[in-house]
Symmetry: C2
Subunit: 395 residues, 2 copies
DNA sequence: TCAGTTAGTTTATATAATAAACAAACTATA
DNA sequence: TATAGTTTGTTTATTATATAAACTAACTGA
């Protein structure tokens, strides 16, 4: 069965897979009702899907209160294939292997300086080491999805600010070595895909990440919005203060110069007149209720809140998930931001801390992998799959 | 034939209509090639469309250089129905009637103060007066699309800042009186639809309008993006200068306070210390190369350019169409803006003056009408249809 | 004049959906 | 504990819709 081919039967087959993947306790009858397709049609499609090992029957459910035959619940045949995801940073590689339902098999992190010279070898090693331990029938490893800290367009890296891997053709070289489809995507975009996969309520959401720079992944109508050249999330370089601090991008007053993790540390160092101060020093100062540090945090939160209001005003989302180590270690900063947000126009827009944190782009890569393999335009994950896994690290 | 019903044949029929509407010199053979559907299938669908008077044969084209039978060109049966569009402002009603291909039949403008008390009667009069002069068979008036200067969601007005028509159920009252489908949409969104209809090149574009306030209509992947509650274009209330000028919305430093037509006049009045100064006075000062006015224009253009860069950074469009009387009467302001734009990151994004000007939302309303009637997800108009029309006005 | 080409139609066939009848497996209750 | 009612899922006959192949129509160009 080739899920890519376009025919009536194929698109209906994908529809059925999508329902089984993303729904809860799906039976043939329920799928027929949800899709509007005839019970007989669903029966035949499901028979083929079971024959091809995409789907399994997991036993009977309960009859409804009015009685009647028990439904046979269907699920994706999770062990039929494995998704392999990689978060590629300038100083570390993290990987995540999952079954087809997103259930985690293994996580692994390796700390090492990455460059165009060693990246292929390192990634190939990661994959091959995993393959010696796990295999899946009949599909094997369905794809490798890589989170890139940089601008990506049409499965190609256009720019990476922190390392030189934009100078090689990562996808082609990996595919040649491994003979498995390789997909790459921007880190913030993948984080957004992940938030959407775990958020079954909202259709318009934004994943707002504050690290070295500022990025945003945009989900509109449950679909990732990438912009014309994949640069939609580059809001770090929108201008917050006209004629403000000079930015490396050439402009002055970029949001990134006021709201990023880097800028927060710089502010603190300036305040303390000591450029050796670290984030831990900042946290300590906050915990000791140092007055000038508290004020600094308030100013920082205000700048973030202005940036967030601008995002709300342009995209009109339902919810914004903020993702940053700052929020993990200074949890009450969120309420300071809320205080600064003028909620009158944006009453209905919710601001939440990301539940996935630094792992979000890895989970997003898994979403991308599964979307591509099963031709889905949406993937929903069960809450809980994230935690049930062996975690290893070389650190 | 019910184009709304979902079936294989229906979606293929819509596909054929879409090709005939939006393509150039379409024949059965060409449609078959473009859609991938079999020639026989296209023949049958076209036969039905001709029978139901949606489509007409307009004669034979030329054979290809290699010879062969001449193709029979197909076109939408433009005179089968009439689209009626209305631009509803606080002080005037403009209307535009077109055939199904967007060709203009009549334009009409009436200047009058509009309120919830008189709006229904005025609009009904407009439509009925038109109907005494023109009819179309077999579909008649296919719909009435109204451009609203305010926030619209789910075919309902949520807020109009300049008049009180948000206090009545405009759509329901009109439909009850006229028995014709009524569609409403935000003015900036409709402008964007219009720009997209005349721009056959770009897939991601923004219509940026500067009038009393500032608005933007967003087209992503040739589709209108409305946000979760239809407020995506409300960028006038993003913050340009933190802690800047107080805005009516409650926040400080909104873009609207620096880049709108209103704010330009206010700046000029402050400069000349005379709150009676008009836009014409400003133009005169510019023409006389008044130094302080030239500087004012430069500052104004700079603020607009910052706002535009922020839009570029968030949406990553291919082209932005600016729409404002300011640009009509001060044509070189565009080059001043271009000068201020830091083009390094946004090299590929084009900035153009709207070709439709103040009429754009009317044409956009026509697009909406036709999209709804023919179940299309895209409408392309021929350049040139805008001008060939009788224009009347009561002024 | 006729071979080659392209457009569009006809006909037979294949694909895929549906409706209706049915079997299987249950609940509730008289 | 029989039985009426309900729901799930399958089977069968039928309908809807697309396609391939052969055809006609109408052209070009040598």
């Amino acid at each position: 069965m080739d899920l890519k081919k376009t025919s009536t039967r194929n698109s209906n087959t994908i529809l059925v897979i999508s329902n089984i993947m993303n729904g809860y306790q799906m039976s043939r009858a329920k799928i027929s009702e949800l899709t509007g397709l005839n019970k007989a049609t669903i029966s035949e499609i499901v028979r083929n899907l079971i024959e091809d090992q995409y789907v399994v029957e997991i036993g009977a459910g309960e009859s409804s209160s009015a009685g009647g035959r028990k439904p046979i619940y269907l699920e994706i045949n999770k062990k039929a294939g494995i998704s392999f995801s990689i978060d590629l940073r300038s100083d570390q590689i993290s990987s995540l292997a999952t079954y087809l339902n997103g259930e985690v098999i293994e996580k692994y992190t390796e700390h090492c300086k990455i460059s165009k010279e060693n990246v292929i070898e390192r990634l190939v090693n990661h994959v091959q080491e995993f393959n010696t331990k796990y295999t899946a029938k009949p599909f094997g490893m369905i794809g490798i999805a890589i989170s890139i800290h940089g601008v990506v367009d049409e499965n190609q890296i256009s720019f990476t600010p922190y390392f030189d891997i934009d100078e090689i053709d990562l996808v082609k070289e990996l595919e040649d070595r491994l003979n498995i489809p390789v997909y790459i995507e921007n880190e913030a975009n993948l984080s957004a895909l992940a938030e959407a996969a775990y958020d079954h309520e909202h259709t318009h959401l934004i994943s707002f990440s504050v690290h070295t720079g500022i990025g945003a992944g945009i989900i509109l109508d449950r679909q990732l919005f990438r912009g014309f050249k994949g640069r939609s999330g580059e809001i770090g370089h929108t201008i917050l203060y006209p004629d403000g601090i000079q930015c490396a991008c050439g402009n002055k007053g970029c949001f990134e110069q006021y709201g990023s993790f880097t800028s927060l540390i710089r502010r603190f160092q300036t305040l303390k007149k000591d450029d050796q101060c670290t984030f831990d020093d900042l946290i300590e100062a906050v915990e000791q209720e140092d007055a000038e540090t508290t004020l600094l945090i308030d100013h920082f939160a205000k700048d973030l809140s202005i940036g967030l209001m601008n995002i709300m005003g342009t995209y009109d989302p339902e919810v914004i998930y903020v993702n940053s180590e700052i929020f993990d270690k200074l949890p009450n900063i969120l309420s300071i931001i809320e205080k600064h947000l003028d909620r009158s126009i944006y009453k209905s827009i919710q601001l939440s801390k990301s539940k996935l944190g630094s792992q979000s782009s890895l989970y997003g890569a898994t979403v991308l992998n599964l979307k591509n393999f099963l031709s889905l335009d949406e993937v929903k994950f069960d809450i809980g799959y994230t935690s049930t896994a062996a975690v290893r690290s070389n650190k």
